[in-house]
Amino acid sequence: MSDNFDVPAPLEGVGGWLDDRFHGARGFRVLMRKVFPDHWSFMLGEIALWSFVILLLSGTFLSLFFVPSMTDVVYHGSYVKLDGIRMSEAYQSTVSISFDVRGGLLMRQIHHWAADLFMASLIIHMLRVFFTGAYRKPREVNWLIGVGLFTLGLLEGLFGYSLPDDQLSGAGLRIFEGVLQGIPIVGTYLAFFLFGGGFPGNDIVPRMYVLHVLLIPGLLLGLITAHLFIMFHQKHTQMPAKGNTEKNVRGQPFFPYFLAKGGAWFFFIFAALVLLATFAEINPIWLYGPYTPVAISSASQPDFYMGILEGSLRMMPAWEINGFGHTLSLSVLIPAAVPLGIIFGGAAIWPFFEQWATGDRSFHNINDRPRNAPMRTGIGVAAVVFYGVLWAEGANDVIADKLQIPLYTITWISRVLVFVGPAAAFFVTKRICLALQRQDKETLLHGYESGIIRQLPNGEFIEVHRPVNEEARAVLEAKTVPALMPAPGSEDENGLPAPSSRGALGKVRARANRAFAETIVVETNGHGNGHEVGNGHGAAVEAGQAGEQASVGSAAAGQLPAGENPADSPGSGI
């Protein structure tokens, strides 16, 4: 290390010490210099990461006091309202953590809030990655790891909040067992093996405990580590901006900048969770009472991330097939498997589907602005609406109570909305994206409205438009236009269909390709001719739906040459 720096004497030799032992001079330096782009949306994943750290810390504390046992005891502890009540040791120890251990209530509430924040930030982080296209090549594997983390997080949460063996979570566990039983052929066996016999048995709490504190956290930790290492190795994506290219990454180095910022962020997230744990009561299990299969209360909602499952169970009509001495319980199987199957399965195959449909196999380090990928953004918003309807239906009794709408009406609305909502959301979102693209194009070609009205010598009033500055231009121009495949059913001069559009699958692909390629092409005089000429495949350029003039252009046609003066471009396309 060099002179001229203010470094305390004891730290002078750190670099040498590490290098002597680990040959780390180059490696550690690269590590310290790792560049972190500065964009607010990049902090969402960090929320999940820091929540996970806080979960590990608070969970370790709780495990010191929690007794994972279903042995029956009669309570004679601090909380007099439960005096003389039969309960499991698990429930008793949870009450004890809340009332007899200093800081126990705080830790319990931090742990629960952190779990909710973990799942919430995970979802929002995934939405960010989806809508900006940050999952594209070469980052598909990290996206899949993310989907895996989400799935494991659901299970981890379910097992975690079921551990106290209270009335609310016990009801949830019973539902879980009922769903397991519904699985064809193996369902009853799965349920009996997991619960060690009939419900509730004496085994489920210790078994969930080991899954919750050892197996699943271990998997989560491994996957999170892999997630971070891959991110580190592949480097961050970055949002389009002046100076950002596919070949560079701009930002501040890890040491000392991101270290300090990340540390501050950790403190803030921790503080937010502590404030929630201090002032917002969560899961007051002493009010719910110990689990008994006899009792139930209305407004039994699980934690928010399980709401989609609860909602789909509530929404489902009573379908069941009986025959050949067997029962196929569709009213359980469909809600348990289909919605999450669509969300998780769809998320997992999406990057590969998009590659297949667009034919885009190139590397992407610059993210898309959501508006510049109308198909993806539309599908994403449709998925959000789909999830949202199912999620809201999970609280239909609460909604019915608060809004004074009949319960069945809400269920019927949601039954319709779960199909209509996503379709409408897709259509509207796509339109909005294209409209925003058109606005971008206007800005790019004619500048922005300055608000200055000028009178021309002939008496005419015009508003002065100012050209956009370089920073804004870099953002507006950062749009890649998907390459077109041959149109569905197109043939060459010999009447042979194009190889890629052959067969049913080829037709689907060509259609998907059209849908992905719908965009607003920015044309400038002397350059933009994608509209008329097409794209070398000789494919006809399609217009968008219903009077929409969105055009489809080739990759080359979509790019506006840098530095061209937009002020006198006629904007021939629209």
Partner: protein, 378 residues
Amino acid sequence: MSDKEETEGSEGPVAPRRVIGTPPPTPRLLGSTAVAEGGHGGQVSDETGRGEHIGGEIPTHPVDEAHAKRVEKIVAACFIFAFISGCGFIAAYVGFEVGSNRLGAGDSVVDAALRSNLALGTSLAVTLIALGLGALLWVRHLMPDVEVVEERHELRSDPKDRQAFEQYFKEGASNSQFVKRPLVRRTLMLGTLPLLAAPVVLLRDLGPLPGTSLRHTVWSPGRRLLVFGTDTPITSAEFSVPGSAITIVPEGYADDADALTKATVTLIKFRPGELDIPTTMTGSTLIGTMNWTVDNIVAYSRICTHVGCPVGLYEQTTHHLLCPCHQSTFNAAKGAEVIFGPAPRPLPQLPITVDAQGYLVAKSDFTQPVGPSFWERG
């Protein structure tokens, strides 16, 4: 935090936003060998051949020492505040007792827990916020503002390396004779097959086989109906108010959660003429009839046929039984037929009668499986 948020729609050309008073960077940074001063930063190549820019916008004006001094004091104040608050946390731990063992006789345990929670949480939160704030001010106002532009190395290796890698893999695969000697390959697969099944086999003892246990409950002829909570038997005369509904548990199993999961029953009293249970058969098995009632008292399984929640809500005027979990609704007056919701079949009816002492007892077990559907139910 960002120097380069999207500036779309901003009014006119703007300089890159800087935090007011951010001191300029020191001229040499992070072990780099050279830095060009001025507006564009310098291109540096290190020994890895990786080019890098340092400082896209390094200002040339000198460090604003006065501002730095001021911020330094604020940061220090934050950290001192964190120290004090952290001490407060320890004091709160020591000072606020919880639990009936350590509290005085008249003290409320709940109040004590909430008091401790408030003190611990507030002091901890303040400590964390102060630390975070201090760190943030530090990095944004005291550290020189640098921006590094790092070249990405191509993920794709040199074609020669790729080829060599593929070559080596093929060579290795070929040397292993895995393809050439199918006998070895197939017997290997055969050999590992039982091992793959081993984990599943090992899990067998996790629980008993279901057998027919889902088809039966602990109800048997003559077993008395006990009122849940008091665990006392009941006569039809004691249960005489029309419209009332109570929860029933089987005698001898009032505290057995496993038994109650299937055997809990809702007992409902109707006005004469209101109750009209159609005689229903499944195959040759009778599953619902007026003959299983006593004095307009009917007993239905309390376990929802959807996924097994207790059907806990009863509305007298409509005779509707509602499951609060997923809102399956049953008409209690008409054999608990399903009116709404995901439940696929009515709640099973428990045949009841009275014993010699006049107490309500079961005539038999349920004649069909209670609770949620399962594959073997049929």
